[in-house]
């Protein structure tokens, strides 16, 4: 009698456990499905489809699909404009790392210095990041204008009329003018990241260093900088990835011109796809961007893991 009731008890327990498990599986499916569908369709599926389209010769406007294997990639390797745009992307990566991050850091440090009106300075420093890129692009077209641009007016003020020129109209200066604008736009963003990280550094460290007679420079080199290292790595990743996929400002300001001198991979992809109607070839440019970004991210992450391992 007693045995039977225990058995019954156990079987009920097993049943409720199974029911619980079933409920949990249903919950997992129910809760995750909406996100997985949208993400799966728009991101995952699209990446595979980009690769698939890149294997065809296809205009995108008719049904004339011609499978040609890796032909598009072979053409791409011999395409001078693609190499030029990859070069410009690399230039942008380098310039972003060398100007945006240091400028962001300087602005962030300044916000902790004993000057008056910090709130005002911070608000203005941050404003460029909130503007839409299209607005920035149009604004800077006028700043760089050869006839009445602000930059030329400023040069005249300080007696450097000889440098006056149509900054984005000339091949030699266009890319630098555009890169400077990108830096103007994004330096404030890194300021915000660094500022948040500096707030997190314990005050006592600085107090102790001051008692030991450390100068401001020493305190920065031995306390601030090492403690900021993780955020600097994060910023570097963001800056590199951002520079590799950059599009908006170039499209608005120069459309990649004059004569491809400001062409980036993304603008080249856009032109091939939506202006020249080479959807197959455009897809191969686009997929190459993905591969390049993927490999670089992988390298940074592996490097970062090694660095952490050493410490």
């Amino acid at each position: 009698m007693g045995e039977a009731s225990t058995q019954k008890h156990i079987s009920i327990k097993v049943q409720t456990k199974a029911a619980k498990k079933r409920k949990e599986i249903l919950a997992i499916i129910g809760f995750m499905t909406p996100a997985l569908i949208i993400y799966g369709v728009y991101v995952i599926y699209s990446i595979f489809m980009t690769f698939y389209y890149s294997l065809f010769d296809w205009s995108g406007i008719d049904n004339n699909f011609v499978f040609q294997g890796l032909e598009n990639y072979i053409t791409l390797f011999q395409d001078e404009v693609f190499w030029e745009s990859l070069g410009n992307n690399s230039l942008l990566v380098g310039a972003s790392l060398l100007t945006q991050l240091p400028l962001g850091l300087i602005m962030a440090l300044l916000l902790f210095s004993p000057i008056k009106g910090i709130r005002f300075f911070r608000s203005v420093f941050f404003m460029p990041f909130l503007m839409s890129t299209v607005a920035i692009g149009i604004l800077f077209i006028f700043i760089y204008d050869g006839n009445f641009g602000l930059l030329n007016a400023l040069l005249e003020m300080i007696g450097l009329e000889s440098l006056q020129q149509a900054w984005i109209g000339k091949e030699s200066t266009a890319i630098w003018a555009v890169i400077a604008t990108v830096c103007w736009q994004f330096a404030p963003f890194y300021m915000i990241l660094f500022r948040a990280a500096i707030v997190g550094i314990p005050e006592e460290l600085y107090e102790a260093a001051s008692i030991d007679g450390a100068t401001a420079w020493h305190r920065f080199k031995n306390i601030t900088l090492p403690l900021l290292m993780p955020i600097i790595v994060t910023s570097a990743i963001l800056s590199i990835i951002g520079s590799l996929k950059y599009f908006d400002l170039i499209y608005v300001m120069t459309m990649g011109g004059p004569n491809n001198s400001t062409e980036l991979m993304a603008t080249y992809m856009y032109k091939q796809t939506f202006t020249n109607f080479n959807m197959g070839y455009g897809s191969s440019v686009s997929f190459s961007m993905f591969i390049i970004a993927f490999i670089i991210t992988l390298f940074i992450l592996i490097g970062e893991r090694k660095r952490r391992g050493v410490e």
């Binding site: 990446i47 300075f121 839409s132 963003f189 996929k245």
Partner: protein, 273 residues
């Protein structure tokens, strides 16, 4: 006094940076109040008389519609991201199952994918769905590309909520759905603010999807509208500056009202990403 002199270099540096970041803005706003003639004769002076006629011009050309299109798309996308992102994070943070880590990583990878890699298939898909050239075309891609950061932030945040809360709710017979909506979701508020701010700024200013997925001017979002306006009024610089000022105003206003929150949200969003 000596202290003041010592601080001089700091002030100089601060003012140089202030000019660097602020001067383009000042020029933009300043020019927007000028007449065309005033601009031609002295492009850099203060306006001879403040005139709002350039802003009046904007109201004639559907600026309000661009603004509404942007607002609808941004708000809807952010709401959807928050709801389905938080939902997806619940199993990832609180339930144990085999695919837990792989699924989380799948979302995380999304943060490193250049959106341009998906542009062509999304363009074709949008045409096939019959959404091309409507503002609804934009919501799918905006939600999809905002999801990774939302899922990562929500999952990390939800993991830190003490398990005891759930245990007692479960004893009371609370199912997964009620547990999530009534108990966990309200506790996510700080994370919701971060996700909302971070994504709103990016979606509000988004350009390339809007450029590719819409075509006619009555569905244009603000960035596209600005560009269209620029194309039409190339010679009328003050009017263009008025458009740029008005187009930048909404985010700037929000920023001045909720500065701390926005700064924190952006920093948290990026570092976690």
């Amino acid at each position: 006094m000596i202290k003041r002199i010592k601080q001089m270099p700091l002030y100089v540096l601060a003012i140089v940076l202030l000019l660097f970041t602020g001067l383009p803005f000042f020029i933009m706003v300043n020019t927007s109040f000028k007449s065309q003639l005033n601009f031609m004769t002295s492009p850099w002076s203060l306006p001879e008389s403040f005139s709002f006629s350039n802003y009046g011009l904007l109201l004639e050309i559907d600026f309000f519609r661009y603004f509404m299109n942007s607002l609808i798309v941004s708000v809807l996308s952010v709401i959807i991201v928050i709801v389905i992102g938080a939902m997806a994070s619940y199993p990832l943070a609180r339930l144990k199952f085999k695919l837990n880590t792989p699924l989380f990583l799948l979302f995380m990878v999304g943060m490193m994918i250049p959106i341009h890699t998906t542009l062509i298939p999304i363009y074709l898909l949008t045409i096939n769905l019959g959404l091309y050239d409507t503002i609804w075309a934009l919501i799918g891609p905006y939600v999809a590309f905002a999801l990774p950061i939302a899922v990562v932030i929500f999952t990390q945040f939800m993991k830190e909520i003490p398990k005891e809360l759930e245990e007692s709710a479960k004893i009371d017979g609370c199912g997964h759905i009620r547990l999530f909506w009534n108990i966990l979701f309200p506790l996510l508020t700080p994370a919701v603010a971060t996700v909302a701010i971070y994504n709103f700024i990016h979606i509000w200013n988004e350009f390339i999807f809007a450029l590719v997925l819409t075509n006619s001017s009555d569905v244009a979002t603000l960035p596209l509208g600005l560009r269209e306006f620029y194309g039409e009024f190339t010679i009328n610089v003050p009017a263009i500056m008025a458009a740029l000022t008005l187009g930048s105003l909404p985010l700037l206003l929000v920023y001045f009202v909720a500065q701390e929150k926005i700064v924190k949200g952006l920093a948290a969003g990026s570092v976690k990403g």
